[in-house]
Symmetry: C2
Subunit: 269 residues, 2 copies
């Protein structure tokens, strides 16, 4: 998907909501467990119930890998379902990969070609030749970890390098990577005040913002500093939406939570 | 596996060789392609032919994920084959994971419990709460990326933080993590001169050293600076061993390459 198509969808739906599919079998409604593939069934119902309110879905790959081959099958069915039924949706594989060149290329093939995700989250620690293989895929997007929303972010991301923080350095250096136009960035909403500073380095890039809702970030603050002329934001909510209820009406209740966020968002679009 | 058991195996085999199973279907002998699961068959023959010379095997997870569900099945069969037939072998899932706490925990469950790997490589960028979930598993080892062997290592790992390099900072901070005794570190052999300095920070930890052979590192240099009283080194070679030949004798030729390295190693043990 091109960035232009993503922006068009955002304007049409008046939403920049991304729904995180972090599906834990212990947290889904019990009656789904009798289905052949409970995780896929859960995802399908969540997607059907919210696809007009969200512009992106983000399966968290760990939650599928944890169930081995079976989990991998659920993931494949989920991305196929999205691509076949809602081709306008932007899909994010939240995998946080990153390795030496030929290995990164294998990951890129797995997520961009075999599964046909639109984008993938990537960790920057190994530098240029670990990121560029992802960037070489046309109309695919690499979402680089810049400033994450967890406490551990203070361990390294805030370390000063040349009077700068490491996370700002990561963003600056990544702009020099080949095909850098395919980059987006993870920026945690729990630190909305830093988004202003980040926007000075990358005014035009999309930011994927986790941590609104369950993790305590403020949508208003993120919009204040993060919006650009193309909107330029994808706000993710996972648990706050998909685990709204454990009853047969779970998909309807997930929809209500998604709608609350979309209603807040539409005033900015 | 406990560190003590690993050291015992190293002394017994007089080897600290780790063989990387980075299996690309385009690089394995053609006649294997008629097998039901060519990748597993390739791995099985390599393992049977080299298990007395190596103390560890390291499947590179990207190469399995690239084949989707089928690749995941090959990986599962490979780790099961190792655990069932060569339980003394130390197994490393080279996955370079790392995410917020509950997600890291799901990854840990996938690799340590479901697949029963002894260890996993982890990227440090997200800090403490992304690493500690892995460390909480008893007799399982977390191999933290410290100084990698690729060119991109210079982008961030060599950045100065408080008069230190980021990679040394990563090592220092990680020592304060809960259950830090379960940590090992990836340290690239292409920078053997830095191993001396790293040994002053972590004299007792095991180092997983990629980049000997194909990537140009020197075993002698690595041993000079890296050996400790428990040996404390695992030297990985992937392509240099497993792709020694594309003929029916590939497993035998892989054995010869492994034996050359083991012969060099035994003088240090």
């Amino acid at each position: 998907m091109t960035t232009k198509e993503l922006v068009k969808q955002i304007r049409k739906k008046r939403s920049f909501l991304c729904i995180g599919l972090d599906v834990d079998i212990e947290k889904i409604p019990e009656y789904l467990l009798k289905e052949e593939d409970p995780i896929f069934q859960f995802n399908k119902e969540i997607i059907d119930s919210t696809h007009d309110l969200a512009v992106a879905y983000k399966p968290n790959i760990a939650f599928y890998e944890a169930y081995g081959v079976k989990g991998w099958e659920s993931l494949k069915k989920t991305i196929d379902y999205l691509n076949n039924n809602y081709p306008e949706i932007f899909t994010i594989a939240d995998a946080k990969r990153g390795d030496i060149g030929n290995t990164s290329y294998m990951y890129a093939k797995a997520f961009f070609e075999d599964m046909n995700f639109d984008s993938l989250t990537v960790a920057p620690y190994m530098g240029r030749d670990s990121v560029e293989p992802f960037l070489s895929f046309k109309n695919k997007h690499t979402i680089l970890l810049a400033l994450t929303s967890n406490d551990g972010a203070y361990d390294f991301q805030f370390q000063k390098v040349e009077l700068n923080t490491l996370y700002n350095k990561v963003i600056e250096v990544s702009k020099t990577y080949k095909n850098a136009e395919n980059l987006m960035y993870v920026v945690g909403a729990t630190k909305a005040e830093y988004i202003k500073e980040i926007r000075q380095i990358i005014p035009d890039s999309f930011l994927l913002v986790p941590g609104v809702g369950a993790q305590g970030g403020s949508l208003e603050q993120v919009c204040k500093y993060g919006l650009n002329s193309n909107i330029g934001l994808l706000i993710n909510s996972s648990r706050g939406i998909i685990y709204a209820s454990k009853t047969q009406g779970f998909a309807k209740e997930a929809r209500e939570k998604a709608q609350q966020l979309q209603q807040e968002m539409k005033q900015y679009i």
